[in-house]
């Protein structure tokens, strides 16, 4: 079975996920005058001092490093908002709160490069860590329900990094369950000599969980 003996089932490394996250848009306030920048991914600017504009995160970080702008933290990255999210995450055992798909990576990049632009940076940082821990614990509880009848798992609002962490494990576990539930080994129905109809029967017996 493909992937069963391969320990490197993970498709993306954390750095690659971070790279993808750098395409998310953030708001910056430039302190220089500059013409519009024309890139393959779109045109950004023109930039005027003190006039906020939307740019991709990688451009914002590049400008920030040169001291040419301040980054406005995203709407969700405030102490009040994150406290609410954390409360809600703790309250419900199953549902995940809606956060940006790349919230782990965006917050890491902003903490690294623009900590002076985030109010209450220590508080925000520890809140995000807490949210991530609570959510990951919930992912694990969700995975406990995995069994031979599941051949897919749907968890709403899971973020890119969280998916990336559990991907190798879940992929393997589902494969193993599928293998052990094969109709050759589990004689649950009338055995017929031809294998193909049996496989079809088995597939209809499965259903998506949640």
């Amino acid at each position: 079975m493909a992937g069963q003996s391969d320990p490197q089932l993970s498709l993306f490394s954390a750095e690659e996920v971070e790279f993808i996250a750098e395409d998310e848009m953030v708001e910056i306030v430039p302190n220089l005058r500059m013409d519009a920048l024309n890139f393959v991914c779109g045109d950004f600017g023109p930039f005027f001092p003190q006039l906020a504009t939307q740019v991709p995160l990688w451009l914002a970080v590049a400008l920030k490093k040169r001291g040419k702008c301040t980054i406005r933290p995203p709407q969700w990255m405030t102490v009040e908002k994150l406290t609410q999210v954390l409360e809600a995450e703790r309250d419900s055992q199953r549902v995940f709160e809606q956060l940006p798909f790349h919230y782990v990576e965006i917050s890491r990049l902003l903490f690294d490069h623009a900590r002076d632009d985030i109010p209450d940076v220590y508080m925000v940082r520890s809140l995000i860590e807490d949210i991530r821990d609570v959510r990951f614990h919930k992912v694990e509880t969700n995975l406990e329900s995995l069994n031979e009848r599941a051949f897919a798992l749907k968890i709403n609002n899971l973020s890119a990094m969280e998916v990336n962490i559990v991907r190798p494990f879940v992929g393997r576990a589902l494969q193993a369950f599928y293998k052990h539930d094969s109709p050759d080994l589990i004689p649950d129905q009338d055995r017929v000599s031809d294998r193909r109809p049996q496989v079809a029967n088995n597939a209809t017996r499965r259903h998506l969980r949640r």
Binding site: P7, S10, A14, L146, F177
Partner: protein, 185 residues
């Protein structure tokens, strides 16, 4: 043929099974305890699985259920599957079970594998992402190869994430840079 180069699959084929010869065979040194180079009908010999499988296809032998799947193991797995040391019984418990089940005609092996994996999976899941490596290495010794793979997949992805979160050098310099001109000067 898909598994032809799979080393785990090859090792699985080396597992020993007890067989009973249905035909006498002469000129073979299979049975080390016999005095002659001849195997009588009805003699019980332990053979590696790949050989037993071939002989069984020619109706030369009949396979016994291996000890890893006998009643004792079954009871132990039913009692507390998470603590059973499956690795010492058979490192490729699940793979071997899948191979042997259709040959010995034991219908209960399949459900046994499934129920064992299902309950042991939970144990692996709870430890894999959280436990520190040193604390978990004790549990690692009772896991079969397939479970170890699962465990290590989770461990390595979690370790990679932690490494990324802790930071370190943001950019790695390609080794070719930096010594660009030194060789010519």
């Amino acid at each position: 043929m898909a598994k032809y180069y799979d080393i785990d699959d090859i090792i699985t084929d080396e597992e020993i099974v007890a067989v009973i010869f249905q035909k006498s065979a002469s000129g073979v040194g299979i049975d080390p305890s016999s005095e002659t180079d001849c195997v009588e009908v009805g003699s019980k010999v332990e053979l590696p699985f790949w050989l037993a499988h071939e002989l069984q296809q020619r109706q030369a032998v009949s396979l016994n259920i291996p000890t890893s799947f006998n009643q004792n193991t079954r009871l132990e797995i039913q009692a507390d599957s998470a603590c059973v040391d499956l690795r010492s019984r058979c490192p490729f418990f699940y793979e071997f079970g899948c191979k042997i089940a259709p040959l010995v005609g034991a219908r209960n092996i399949g459900p046994l594998l499934l129920s064992a994996f299902k309950s042991r999976y939970k144990e692996v899941l709870t430890k894999a992402h959280t436990a520190a490596f040193t604390a978990a290495s004790k549990n690692l010794t009772i896991l079969t190869k397939e479970e170890t793979n699962l465990y290590e997949a989770a461990q390595s992805s979690m370790a990679a994430f932690k490494k990324w979160r802790m930071g370190g050098p943001r950019f790695q310099k390609a080794s070719i840079l930096g010594r660009k001109r030194k060789s010519t000067e």
